[in-house]
């Protein structure tokens, strides 16, 4: 088990390095840097001015060196102007004398860089916004997982019954409705003058004070898309369990149907959905970005859109690190959890 986890973690770190390098490469292409220089300096910068700005801030070094600096394994860039002797250092925070700046500053030192859009330290922004998204995710899981499991189990315990068919139709309909569609429909029905105005169409105020009125619709929107998929997986796993020999034995022994479902079938039927729920996290991340944009809830997804839209390199890199780590960690947990839950699985 220990070796298995170690190997998985090693692969995970390798994957994370590759992915961040790809993001690093794509955000550090010359046109993007040129845009950065122009937004930081002024729009009508001449080409020479752009080059000198980029030179001064160390953007023209080889890609691998820059990546190393960002990670914190290579010494930070220091530039000395040959004419004035002014020193610009990557590691100097604002107001610090550049000559006293530490040699290394990167992810490993806990320095995530400075956001050019929000004018704040990236680590602060990410921490605050991630907290807000965490709140959203928590409620999404609270709504989504139990309802999906109940739907799946109810549908799967009697395959082909009427209840199965109606619930399966519901699951198909919910997987066919992406967040930007269900969000629009929910707002129209429950938060517009055309429909029934009982909820709010924006969730901006939910950041400080989440109430049913401003938070239900975003939570519902994300949950709806995920419910169908998890419910279908639960149903499949439940129908499979219900045809197993030991269930038939229990039935023949005279155990009541309710007890067969609750005591014998349920536990075994919930192994597969566990993996599915864990693997839903990348999708939830997608949903979060869409819903936060639609409902104007200023969490992690909203920051990601802002960073990507304005080519805020440090912030975008930090966002991708967080996103990639979330995806990889949930994959790891799902693998390990699967092994723990299902004693038949052997790790080779």
């Amino acid at each position: 088990m220990g070796v298995f986890i170690l190997r998985r973690v090693a692969v995970m770190i390798l994957t994370a390095l590759c992915l961040t390098f790809v993001v690093f490469f794509l955000t550090n292409l010359y046109p993007a840097l040129e845009k950065l220089a122009k937004t930081q300096g002024n729009q009508r910068m001449s080409d020479e001015a752009v080059v000198s700005y980029l030179e001064r801030h160390g953007h023209l070094q080889p890609l691998l060196v820059k990546y190393g600096q960002w990670l914190g394994v290579a010494p930070g860039h220091v530039h000395e102007n040959p004419e004035t002797g002014a020193i610009t250092a990557r590691c100097a925070t604002r107001g610090m004398d550049p000559s006293e700046a530490p040699r290394f500053c990167g992810l490993l030192q806990g320095d995530w860089g400075f956001s050019t859009v929000f004018k704040d330290d990236v680590s602060n922004i990410i921490a605050v916004r991630l907290g807000l998204t965490g709140k959203l995710m928590f409620w999404v899981l609270v709504v989504m997982v139990p309802s999906a499991l109940v739907i799946g189990v109810l549908a799967g315990m009697r395959e082909g019954s009427r209840m199965d068919r109606s619930l399966s139709t519901f699951s198909i309909a919910s997987t066919a409705t992406p967040e930007y569609v269900s969000g629009v429909i929910l707002i129209t029905l429950l938060a517009s003058s055309a429909g029934w105005k009982i909820f709010k169409g924006t969730a901006t105020s939910a950041a400080d004070n989440a109430t049913l009125e401003n938070f239900l619709l975003p939570v519902l929107t994300i949950s709806l898309y995920g419910v169908g998929y998890i419910a279908r997986m639960t149903r499949a796993s439940m129908t499979e369990v219900m045809t197993a020999q030991y269930i038939r034995t229990a039935r023949l022994k005279g155990v009541s149907f309710r007890n067969v479902v609750l005591k014998h079938a349920l536990r075994n039927a919930l192994i597969a959905p566990f993996t599915v729920i864990m693997l839903q996290f990348p999708w939830l991340l997608n949903g979060v970005v869409i819903v936060e944009t639609l409902f104007n809830y200023k969490g992690f997804g909203w920051v990601l859109v802002q960073a990507a839209g304005n080519n805020d390199i440090s912030l975008l890199l930090a966002c991708s690190v967080v996103a990639v780590v979330v995806v990889l960690v949930t994959q790891l947990i799902s693998d390990i959890g699967y092994v723990f839950l299902n004693p038949r699985i052997q790790i080779s």
Binding site: L29, P31, K35, R162, I172, Y180, V184, S256, R258
Partner: protein, 470 residues
Amino acid sequence: MEPLTWTGSLSVLDPVFLLAWVALGIAVVVQIVATFLAAEDIVEHEVSAFTRKMAEYSVLGVKIVAGLILLLILVYAIAGILMPTMEDKGIVGTVSTRLLPVWIALLATFAASIAFKRRLGFYGKLFDSMVGMIGFAIVMFWVFTAIFGAMDLIVTHDPLAQVSGMKNKVPGTALPNVEGAFPYYLLGGDNLARDVFSRVVKGAWEVVKVAPFATLFAFMVGITLGLPAAYFGGRLDTILSFVSNLILAFPVILLFYLLVTPEIVQTGIPVYMAAVLFIFPIIFMVILINSRFHVQPVKRSVYLVITLVLGLWIYSGVAWNADPLGLIEFPPNLLVVFVSVVFVNSPTVFRIVRGIALDIKTRDYVAAGQTRGEGPWYIMLWEILPNARGPLIVDFCLRIGYTTILLGTLGFFGLGLSPESPDWGSTINDGRKLLSIFPHPALAPAFSLMSLVLGLNLLADGLREESLRD
């Protein structure tokens, strides 16, 4: 002029229609509860006559009410076509009249397919399953709407034309000055005073022309890489699986933002990606033909030359926009969208193909093929692939739906397609700012997208059911 009402002179039926929906809601809930209780009773051997009766009646009730609703919808649609004036037709009737070519094409398709269903193989079997037929009908409805819409048969106005005074007007509003133009905005106007109905119809074409081809390309890439990964295994498999997991670990939206922004497009990276991704269909076809006609050199050479000439010609036009004959053009912004969608979809297809092929590889007929001395590519493409077709076709349908959702996401974030573009995602994005006051411009494309994806999902479900029956 007076604005159109929804149902025109058929509005006498409206209360019945509404009541039927309410009754359906109640009946479905009663039915679920009652059948649940009744089933419980059977198992517990306590036959309670009351719950049994209630379950039976509620099932009957649902059937009757659902039938009534369907009948009323048909009445609205058909009577709408037959009514003489637009005021009598109402919005529903007029829309139904505009869609007349679609109805005819749908009827013809279904009549022909059902008449010859025993001779149509896998496709014909679809018409044995109710779910599959409903899904197919919805999908074909949108396909025909898109095609006829692109031929300008259905649209009432230019989807980009703005008519002053029609900004955010509700469905059925009459145009202020009619001179030769269609006198109404059937589904209202959007925030730039454009006709929502025409935009939705044109938007269908945007989806239909990209989604199936993007999915097909993703399948070609996935199959060409997935089969050898599963068949040869070893280091090739490890590397390919690692790369596909790498792409899958990327949040899709981040990837879109990284690939579709103008700065990246400027560097030409999407074009290089297109160059790599679009070569796979040619490789696939070449290997396919080469392995099949390996022993008939003349036939092989002829087919190979034809494939290569055609393939490379299309390839040069599509990927590099450098068609020597100047016939094939691919708009650069569409190419970026196309490439990113293919790129996102291929790793999943790769994983599916690899999983199925790993399973089929262990079958006896593969071993028999190997002992006969068949080459690895022949076994992969002519022994394994045909036997994997069932799940792949099902996944193909599902994946077109997923691609439609992805295209909508791109539009929703305003990425890639031109801002004026009538595609559904962009239209929803345009409409969402004023959603709580004027919901109709966003609702129409939202429902369209939902119904198309739902149709594809139902179609996939029907296909799965039928393929399991073999």
